[in-house]
Symmetry: C2
Amino acid sequence: MLIGELASRAGTSTRTLRYYEQHGLVQADRDANGYRQYDDAELRVVHEIRSLLAAGFGLEDIRPFVACLRAGNESGHVCPDSVLVLRRKLAEVDGFIGQLTDLRQQLRAQLDEAVAHRESPCHTQTCQP
Amino acid sequence: MLIGELASRAGTSTRTLRYYEQHGLVQADRDANGYRQYDDAELRVVHEIRSLLAAGFGLEDIRPFVACLRAGNESGHVCPDSVLVLRRKLAEVDGFIGQLTDLRQQLRAQLDEAVAHRESPCHTQTCQP
DNA sequence: CTAGGCGTTGACACCGGCGTCAAGGCAACC
DNA sequence: GGTTGCCTTGACGCCGGTGTCAACGCCTAG
């Protein structure tokens, strides 16, 4: 399979595939003319990468998942290294949710305050005399 | 007040202040020699910008808050335009929290799955014969 | 032979809020 | 006059994943 076919089958671009290869995530043999030749298994790898990226992982984090797939597992998530990354990400997400929840509180408070303020004697930009 | 003093009083850098000015958020008069001369009120403006940035707003979003302060209000949050931005941001944050919550669910599920998998016959990278 | 459709590498652009360095002017003190 | 320390503008770098263009090679069909 050439790069264009893999790209369209994976729903992405050739640019993207070359980028993944450059970062050691996707592998390709070369034809005599220098064209990349892809194994069918690479399609799965690319799908794994795409879904993890969509979930907010970075390429570095994705590496162990790909290695896990290449090691012959049905899923990229079952290897110890992948699990470590999953745990770390879970913690990150929890922290992030916490921050956003705090922020949400503040925003609500400021909104309420602003609304309350509007009922008091005029202080706003658009007050009419 | 010169730029260095404002920077240290506001806990930021001169680069940052010039950047804000370039984007129309901070204002300065000029001395005869071209030096920026800041009004005391600008310190407050810079503080407002810093805290909103820290809360995750972008410079564009911050503009109305600064305008509100300049209009003589005690808080930058009380003007209609600011309130619009606050509402929009609140909605964004809610959406984001929702996405992260979904993601969290998926991560938990994948972790649990991986752990369950490890108890079944060996499929992982590091299995010993 | 030529056109066009695929492949190759290399490099710039983007976004946003700065850090950081360059090359120079101004002020004040020794 | 020289040093030090502030100021000025301008410009590149970063981060990450990708779009996009350039300039070129390969292959096939008409």
